[in-house]
Symmetry: C2
Subunit: 330 residues, 2 copies
């Protein structure tokens, strides 16, 4: 059915809604944007204009057949015209529940209604809908027109078929689709981001460093690794040839250390199995040394790229290059 | 005094110690490595060999005058020969306190002794030293020969002069030096990493996704942003033209939402000021739109780089390129 999607309805024309619009338009889809604000049109158009060169560069094309962009302040009109609805309204649960009920009423029953919420449960969002089986969460990341991830999750009444169709659709607009095993507040990525953010605020509150210090601690180290691999693979590599299986024997003593304001989950056999076997599956049977070599290749190229762009970790590379030139002249 | 550093002593020849060795040797410094294990020599040599091509590529040179690498199982011998000591022993506080006392006894009193600990307080590490003023933490990140960050922090008895000299030395070996305002368990970066890691384990424990799902949620989204900017600048940009000042008025309602197992710090005026003014200082008076454009440029180039290396977010770009080619042929 995803082949039949020609027009995407967007509900809410803020930063995220406009980001979706740019992504869809670049794939030749028509967009009808609903927002009660009178300046929604010019704002979205300006945002799409900003996004455009980056989107084309990423797609590797000079130009594309752009979809048509329309606006309405009538939510039912948007819902009637749409083959897929992406909600991107402000992050207030009651507002979203009401909005979903209104969209559900006007949209064809086979039209998927996806929420861009950063954390509300789909079971709640679908609770006032006559056709709740087509309601899902499809959570993107800013800038939506560049970052590929979309987290999908269904509520109690969502059908597996709706999630399958959503996957096909999101993949067709260049996205990486992650499907959660079950719903949870904050989903996966925002729980992780929120933990980092709250800990950063604790550190700032304790006056250990400035916002710049705290940001620097990320961009000159862990952040570069996280662009390549998440915490699990990072520590799988830190375990040496034995990977995560060896790592957990080492990190056991640090479990209880007060190294963040967040406590560890209670350790248990099921968690250990999921952890070790999960990392080994991610490793695809390749020796840790092979992953290390790959990581090094990418890290070096990333820092050289940052040198070119004159940002963060690249600035250190640049500084040392100058130093080396000076030494060579002596 | 940092100009006079010719030989660096390393205490502990594991993953981190070997990483330091590679970094120092590439800058022409001699290294004397202390480790009681009989296979320390071959292990460090093998690790340096792995590191070498990446280090040279990053430095932008085909070859360098490499320092000499020596080994000893006698901690006093290492300490007597060193102009700077970098400890990288296993993460056990008692072991490190004893090791620091032994190094302190044998080293010249002006020699800085720096710990690679991921979280112990320098006041504890220096507690059995006759010259505690030269004891600091100098916490690096794996791979030490590539990632530029070193977190430095002094204990109650550390002199400001020792921290100044350590800064000069670390900068001379291509590092970005972060100095904490005061000591805290886990310092800055490891508190952040540990919060993310513990939340990741909570998510795995609740069986919301596999280790791969959780890692994917990072590498296809937030991780790429974290290579460029930390949480503060990320949310400064999410605040639109008003930056962080506007963002906090928006995110207030989400403070109490259960989007991680970590609680927010109690909100207060001093924290708010530090947060808003810190982000505005980081923004260097440039409009948020200018930072957005820069972020987009770097994000696109990063994803194209990942496409070349055939990893994570680049794989999505590659998939879409194929799709576009197929379409064009129709």
């Amino acid at each position: 059915m995803s082949d039949k999607i020609k027009t995407v309805g967007i509900a809410g024309a803020g930063l995220i809604g406009a980001g979706w619009a740019a992504r869809f338009l670049a794939r030749g889809l028509d967009v009808i944007c609903y927002d009660p604000a009178p300046d929604a049109g010019p704002r979205v158009k300006a945002a799409v204009k900003v996004a455009w060169p980056s989107v084309l560069k990423l797609m590797g094309v000079k130009k594309v057949k752009k979809g048509k962009l329309n606006f309405t302040d009538d939510v039912e009109k948007m819902a009637r015209k749409a083959d897929f609805v992406q909600e991107a309204a402000p992050e207030r649960e009651n507002l979203k529940i009401k909005l979903f009920a209104a969209i559900d009423k006007a949209a064809r029953p086979d039209v998927i209604i996806a929420s861009s919420s950063s954390g509300f449960l789909p079971s709640r969002l679908q609770s006032k809908c006559a056709h709740p089986e087509r309601v899902i969460v499809g959570h993107p990341f800013n800038p939506v027109y560049l970052l590929p991830l979309v987290e999908t999750v269904g509520g109690e009444k969502t059908s597996a078929e709706a999630l399958d169709r959503a996957r096909k659709f999101y993949e067709s607009v260049g996205m990486k689709v992650l499907r959660l095993k079950k719903e949870i507040d904050g989903y996966i990525c925002d729980r992780l981001q929120e933990a980092l953010w709250r800990e950063a605020l604790h550190i700032l509150d304790k006056d250990i460093g400035t916002t710049e210090d705290i940001d620097d601690s990320i961009v000159y180290s862990a952040g570069m690794r996280w662009a390549i691999m998440g915490s699990f693979m990072t520590y799988h590599l830190a375990g040496g040839p034995g990977g995560m299986r060896h790592f957990i024997s080492q990190f056991d003593p640090t479990l209880e250390l007060p190294w963040t304001d967040l406590k560890f989950p209670k350790w248990n056999k099921a968690l250990e199995t999921r952890l070790v076997e999960g990392c080994e599956a991610q490793g695809e049977g390749k020796p840790v040394a092979e992953w290390e070599a790959k990581r090094n290749d990418v890290l070096v190229d990333m820092m050289l790229l940052f040198e070119k762009h004159n940002i963060a970790s690249g600035s250190v590379v640049k500084r040392e290059r100058k130093l080396l030139k000076k030494k060579a002249k002596r």
